[in-house]
């Protein structure tokens, strides 16, 4: 049985690319994405599943990357903010965040956007109240919340509730 300090092989499939890496079993998916793969768009705000800044998609579901270990995601399809719309931010949710000013300092923004994409895909963007509820796992201390709701509503093509 491998000890906590012995690195083990893990396959991380991130943004359509396969990465064969060696990580210790105690390494979180977040630290593996940021430190091992160098994809720093995913942010660490609390490292304990409270702020949502590290939200990524695993097999299409949004999760907090700090609250799961890299070894637990072996072989799964992971999408980070870098894999969403390319360098020009062409994904409709990214464009909506810029157009509706759904960001301020920008630190929580990648997590907000990953969460928003999933929120829409889940069918949880049917009204402003629903968006507010289902986006409440992502903290924004600048408090760009009204503009984030505007952006999610616009991207979802939802009429204002």
């Amino acid at each position: 049985m491998a000890g906590a300090q012995d690195a083990v092989p893990v396959v991380l499939r991130v943004n359509g690319r396969r990465h064969d890496i060696q990580v210790e079993p105690r390494v979180t998916l977040l630290d593996a994405i940021r430190d091992t793969l160098g994809l720093t768009g995913t942010k660490k705000g609390c490292d304990r599943g409270e702020c949502g800044a590290c939200t990524v998609h695993v097999d299409g579901r949004r999760i907090n990357a700090c609250a799961t270990l890299a070894v637990m995601q072996d072989g799964r399809e992971i999408t980070t903010i870098e894999g969403l719309g390319g360098a020009d931010g062409s994904h409709p949710v990214q464009r909506a965040f810029v157009a509706h000013d759904g960001l301020q300092c920008g630190f929580c923004t990648p997590g907000q956007i990953m969460s928003a994409v999933a929120c829409i895909a889940e069918g949880h963007a049917g009204s402003d109240d629903e968006i507010r509820e289902w986006m409440s796992g992502n903290l924004c201390r600048c408090a760009a919340y009204p503009q984030i709701v505007d952006a999610v509503r616009a991207a979802a093509g939802t009429a204002r509730a």
Partner: protein, 724 residues
């Protein structure tokens, strides 16, 4: 948005793609990771520190403690910590006692847990109420004003008053909780130190680090292109920044130190609790005859930070007699520090609650009471206001809110099972301005680059400063890019105290005007820069018939490949009282059985001089309103007086507003241009929105329920159990 100047964020794409690099994101070769070990007691001595197990753990490069860390020199006024790893003293729970450096983060973290400390614990007070007898008069930095002021005879005014209100109010300790934890990447190579630091001011970091490490400032470069929220917590320099720097200079190479979320609660200051007393005396018509505002706030045992909560009463209302007094009392915590909104944020809760209480004593509409006491000149200094449209704020806010339909009696509005109440408060923001430099240059392709070493902390600096340069050059703002956050750029003050658009914006405008003058002169030797238009790579001047030249031709004819201008701006002698103002209206629903308060609407209308970009400015104000909502209903760093520590050093125990908490927000600005505050006509707006919200909501709760709550945050217990 179709409003002119409402430009979308220039850094929007960088931020929505994850390309924007924050301090902890910067890649570097040979990186080592540093993790702090912090004291678990609030006061005493470290009697024994066992580091051998950590030193022997896999991947560990070094463990620095007071026993082997380099000696530091005094760090100066920009530093707010105690010098770290210099002695065996512990002055607060969470104070760093060691730093563990390893090749990988998980190894450094694991090894840090192996460090064992034994303490000689000394008695320590961490509860402000336990040390009020030890309160003393602070020596504030001059820009915050004196600890005490007095005009007129307050006691005589109170003797003549028809109505006197004497009340006590409290606010609790709060934390900044920027979503980006403070982080420093320090790299020491070839006798030069480079820091990538999460900060509100790279120059302040350089000054402190260079002084503490005994390095010439030109051997220290500090960079920060994006700051992931700050709110005051990254304004001063704190121990972790010095530790990262000294670790790098000791070991060589690159070291990254990122505070854990828990460490941010003891690592970069907090908003101290306040205990305030407000006394108001008014004649039968509600005109103030006397105002006395006293406040005691917590400071650290090792240093002094006064929360100047009484300051607001110096300015807000006209009264022939006003006394204000700020005191501090020492507790065993890290030093408190400014936090959105410092001073007025706590003070206006007390003053504006007391004004509402006075209105009810008089049976006078609370808004009418404020109108009757409107100050036409600064009541303490006698200076004229630089510009003040507060009356227009009241009028427009009342119109948007529908205030004229408000019945005076409490418990007179209902919605279903809930009681409804409406409250109002004034808002005021101090004006802080710092000397600033800026450089603007244009190349053959027409691309304009503005350079100024200030920060982008979420306010829209990358967007707004180019707008000011574009205005002076007669070009579209998209043609202008800004470089900031680097000590290699022209020096500015800290991006704090709502100062940057005013201060750096004035310098940018001045440099851009000078560049326009240079370009105009190059065209025909005399052209007026005001007639200059830059469109792409073509320049047009219009002194009579318009002349259009290709920039490439113009520059080639002068044998240059670019033209630059640099300017500095500094605030002149202050002949005016300069403040931003506003009026805040709150609509709340209260469930009496549950003791729950739900804010349904907030309306804020503001007088803040020229608004350069209505889009980013609106976000500053709505963000501020939500901060006020957090202050009023959620935020409190709960503290265990026996253990001398915060009990919830995380984001689930420390409640922050989330999206579902946010009500309908309606924000407006009064059109205004303030030539005395800045060269661009603007005043500061960064903290303004967070002011007055607490009182507006508490006053609305009183209107709904008849219960007057004088302690923030408002809790269900307090609401159910009656007046505080």
């Amino acid at each position: 948005m179709n409003v002119p100047d409402a430009r979308n964020r220039a850094d929007g794409v960088a931020k929505v793609t994850g390309a924007a690099r924050f301090a902890a994101d910067v890649p570097v070769d040979g990186l080592r990771h540093a993790v702090l070990v912090t004291a678990t007691v609030p006061a005493g001595r470290v009697a024994r520190l066992e580091t051998a197990a950590a030193e022997g753990a896999p991947g560990v490069v070094a463990v620095l403690t007071a026993a082997n860390a380099p000696r530091l020199a005094l760090a100066g006024d920009g530093y707010a910590g105690r010098l770290p790893l210099q002695d065996d003293r512990v002055c607060y729970e969470g104070e760093p006692i060691a730093v563990v450096v390893a090749d990988r983060l998980e190894r450094a973290r694991a090894a840090a847990r192996l460090v064992r400390a034994e303490y000689v614990v000394e008695p320590a007070a961490t509860d402000l109420d336990a040390v009020l007898d030890a309160a003393y008069a602070p020596t504030p930095t001059p820009r915050w004003g004196p600890a005490d002021t007095s005009v007129g005879d307050v006691d005589a005014g109170l003797d003549r008053a028809a109505v006197v209100v004497r009340r006590r109010y409290t606010t609790e300790a709060r934390h900044h909780c920027a979503i980006e934890p403070s982080a420093t990447l320090a790299e020491w190579r070839d006798g030069r130190l480079t820091l990538h630091d999460a900060t509100q001011g790279v120059f302040n970091v350089r000054t402190v680090i260079a002084a503490a490490l005994g390095l010439a400032p030109d051997r220290v470069r500090v960079r920060c292109e994006y700051t992931g929220g700050a709110f005051g917590g990254k304004g001063y320099v704190w121990p972790h920044q010095l530790i990262a720097a000294m670790t790098a200079t000791t070991l060589g190479g690159a070291v990254r130190l990122v505070l854990t979320r828990a460490q941010t609660f003891t690592g970069n200051g907090y908003q101290p609790p306040t205990r305030q007393a407000v006394t108001l005396g008014a004649d039968a018509d509600g005109r103030l005859l006397a105002v006395r505002h006293e406040s005691v706030s917590a400071t650290a045992t090792y240093g002094e930070y006064p929360e100047m909560a009484a300051n607001c009463s110096r300015v807000v209302y006209a009264s022939p007699a006003i006394e204000t007094r700020n005191r501090v009392a020492p507790v065993a915590t890290i030093l408190p520090t400014p936090m959105r909104a410092p001073h007025e944020g706590a003070g206006m809760f007390a003053l504006e609650s007391a004004m509402d209480e006075l209105a009810y004593e008089l049976g006078l509409d609370p808004l009418e009471l404020r109108l009757r006491n409107h100050a036409e000149t600064d009541p303490t200094t006698g200076q004229p206001f630089s510009s003040k449209e507060l009356l227009a704020c009241y009028a427009e806010g009342a119109r948007r809110f529908g205030w004229s339909g408000r019945p005076m009696p409490v418990r007179s509005l209902r919605a279903g099972d809930e009681l409804v109440g409406w409250g109002v408060a004034s808002a005021i923001g101090s004006t802080f301005r710092f000397p600033a430099g800026a450089r603007v240059r244009v190349g053959v392709d027409g691309g304009v680059v503005v350079e100024a070493g200030c920060q982008e902390i979420g306010a829209g600096t990358y967007t707004v400063l180019p707008q000011l340069a574009a205005e002076a050059l007669g070009c579209p703002p998209e043609q202008v890019t800004l470089r900031l956050g680097d000590t290699a750029l022209p020096e500015t003050g800290v991006t704090a105290g709502s100062s940057t658009t005013m201060s750096v914006g004035s310098a940018v405008r001045s440099a851009a005007l000078e560049l326009a003058a240079k370009l105009a002169a190059m065209v025909d030797g005399r052209a007026d820069p005001a007639t200059l238009r830059l469109a792409g790579a073509e320049l047009t001047v219009k002194n009579g018939p318009p002349t259009t030249v290709r920039l490439a031709d113009l520059l080639a004819s002068h044998g240059v490949d670019g033209v630059a201008a640099e300017a500095r701006w500094a605030p002149g002698p202050q002949r005016h009282s300069i403040h931003a103002f506003g009026a805040v209206f709150a609509d709340v629903a209260v469930d009496e059985l549950l003791g729950s308060v739900r804010v349904r609407r907030l309306v804020g209308v503001y007088s803040a001089g020229r608004i350069v970009n209505p889009l980013t400015a609106r976000a500053q104000l709505t963000g501020g309103l939500i901060w006020g909502l957090g202050q009023t209903l959620m935020e409190r760093s709960v503290h265990d007086a026996r253990l001398g520590r915060y009990v919830s050093k995380n984001l689930s125990g420390y409640l922050l507003p989330v999206s579902a908490d946010v009500p309908e927000l309606n924000v407006g600005f009064v059109e205004e241009h303030d030539p005395h505050a800045s060269a661009i006509g603007a005043r500061g707006i960064g903290v303004l929105g967070a002011v007055g919200v607490g009182a507006a909501i508490a006053n609305a709760v009183h209107h709904a329920t008849g219960v007057r709550l004088r302690d923030l945050p408002i809790t269900a217990e307090a609401l159910c159990c009656g007046e505080s």
